[in-house]
């Protein structure tokens, strides 16, 4: 039986800078320590983000990916997008228009329905055995 892990949506603070990102880091740390963390950061409240804030986002993404998970962003303002572009990290994160889209994106590929003991290509070439038998 496979159990789908929940996707956690977290809100970023209005000012995401060196000070606030430290507090945010403490909050998100337990989530990142879980196996395959699936996190969507809602940036709808963010009014300003600086280099330290972006560093923290990258750190969180790194931690999530280390544990075979992912961290995605949603609801970015145009200002935040400009800062991410300026710092060349806009292509590093998956960015969605809404939190729902971000959550849905984790379930786009139903990884959990594929039995873990089956080979990775079984979802694509599952019919191969049937065809072979028929021939």
């Amino acid at each position: 039986m496979s159990v789908s892990r929940p996707v956690v949506v977290m809100q970023l603070p209005e000012e995401f800078n060196a000070e606030t990102s430290q507090a945010f880091c403490k909050e998100i740390e337990p989530l990142l320590e879980a196996h395959r963390p699936r996190i969507v950061l809602d940036c709808s409240l963010v009014r300003s983000i600086d280099g330290a804030g972006v560093e923290m986002l990258l750190h969180c993404l790194e931690e999530a990916m280390k544990r075979d998970g992912d961290l995605k962003l949603c609801c970015l303002s145009a200002q935040s997008e400009v800062v991410l572009e300026l710092l060349r990290v806009d292509r590093v994160f998956e960015i969605f228009a809404s939190a729902e889209e971000g959550v849905r994106s984790f379930n786009a590929l139903p990884v959990d329905v594929i039995p873990q003991d089956a080979p990775w290509y079984s979802a694509v070439f599952g019919e191969l055995g049937v065809l072979k038998q028929a021939s």
Partner: protein, 304 residues
């Protein structure tokens, strides 16, 4: 512009500047050493007073223009047109409409509070220009003017030396030998471009600005005394100190992190002292000397 006025035989040139620009007073006055600008809190009234003074000194015709437009047309032809039509005012316009440019019969003007409204009420003939016109209403327009200048779509040229086709450097610009300047581009005086930087696609870095290690400046204008931090991608933008205007998204940001973007403290200039562009039309041919830079024999920075 002043040299153009002098060329067609204009006797008197007055420059009236709103006091809202007084923080840039020294820089403005240095840029027009041949004129003594009049600083005023009420431009309209100052224009009316200047016209009255012209009238007293026997000047018959006056060309009145605002710095809200850059236009290339034959001023002497405009004056001839004005004289031939014998109207109190000649308005200059292009295909998009009226320009802030008038030729005025001085004795038809009375000293009023709002001279521009008064000009509207006078009978006017229309002089249509077919040359290059750029209205300067937004920083976006300034960026377009830079692009047009660097791509030779207008007569305005960077105030510097064309060291390679399309690459212009002003006196004292420093480019690290491992930085790349891809034409068309302009670097103003005392700018510093650090290692691994790329400046390209009609970008201009104005005087006393610094672009730090590994940053790409593409299709952007960095106004004077600005610092662009390390490892950034500055695209489709105008930077003025800590303010960044992204033209593609039409978003203005105040960057509070001086490590990213901010006033260039290492320039030793007053952070508030900024000029918009080092572009002009005077002595272009004299400035088109070619000088080599970035050659192997030079030190880490090529100094002009």
């Amino acid at each position: 512009m002043t040299s153009e006025f002098r060329r067609i035989g204009v006797d008197e040139v007055s420059l009236l500047i709103d006091e809202m620009f007084s923080s840039r007073r020294d820089e403005i006055e240095q840029s027009v050493p041949e004129l003594a600008p009049v600083w005023t809190s009420d431009v309209s009234r100052a224009v009316a007073q200047t016209l009255a003074a012209y009238k007293e000194s026997g000047i018959e015709t006056c060309i009145l223009t605002l710095a809200s437009v850059y236009a290339e047309f034959d001023l002497s032809d405009t004056l001839q047109f004005h004289r031939a039509h014998q109207q109190p005012v000649t308005r200059v316009l292009d295909g998009k409409g009226l320009l802030d440019f008038w030729v005025v019969k001085v004795d038809g003007i009375s000293e009023v509070a709002d001279i521009f409204a008064s000009l509207q009420g006078l009978q006017a003939s229309s002089y249509i220009v077919s040359g290059y016109v750029r209205r300067l209403e937004h920083l976006r327009d300034l960026r377009c003017l830079v692009v047009d200048s660097l791509t030779s779509r207008c007569r305005m040229r960077p105030q510097g030396f064309e060291v390679r086709p399309g690459v212009w450097l002003a006196e004292g610009a420093q480019v690290h030998r491992r930085a790349r300047i891809v034409a068309p581009a302009f670097l103003g005086s005392a700018t510093k471009i650090e290692e691994q930087c790329l400046i390209t696609r009609c970008s201009n870095v104005e005087s006393n600005s610094q672009v730090d290690f590994g940053t790409v400046v593409e299709d952007s204008s960095v106004l004077s005394n600005s610092y662009i931090g390390m490892g950034l991608d500055l695209t489709h933008s105008v930077v003025d100190g800590s303010r960044l205007l992204n033209l593609r998204r039409d978003v203005t940001l105040e960057i509070k992190d001086p490590g990213l973007i901010g006033p260039n403290k290492s320039s030793g200039m007053d952070a508030n002292s900024r000029s918009l562009l080092s572009f002009g039309m005077d002595s272009i041919s004299a400035r088109r000397e070619r000088r080599s830079f970035n050659s192997e024999t030079e030190s880490t920075y090529s100094l002009l």
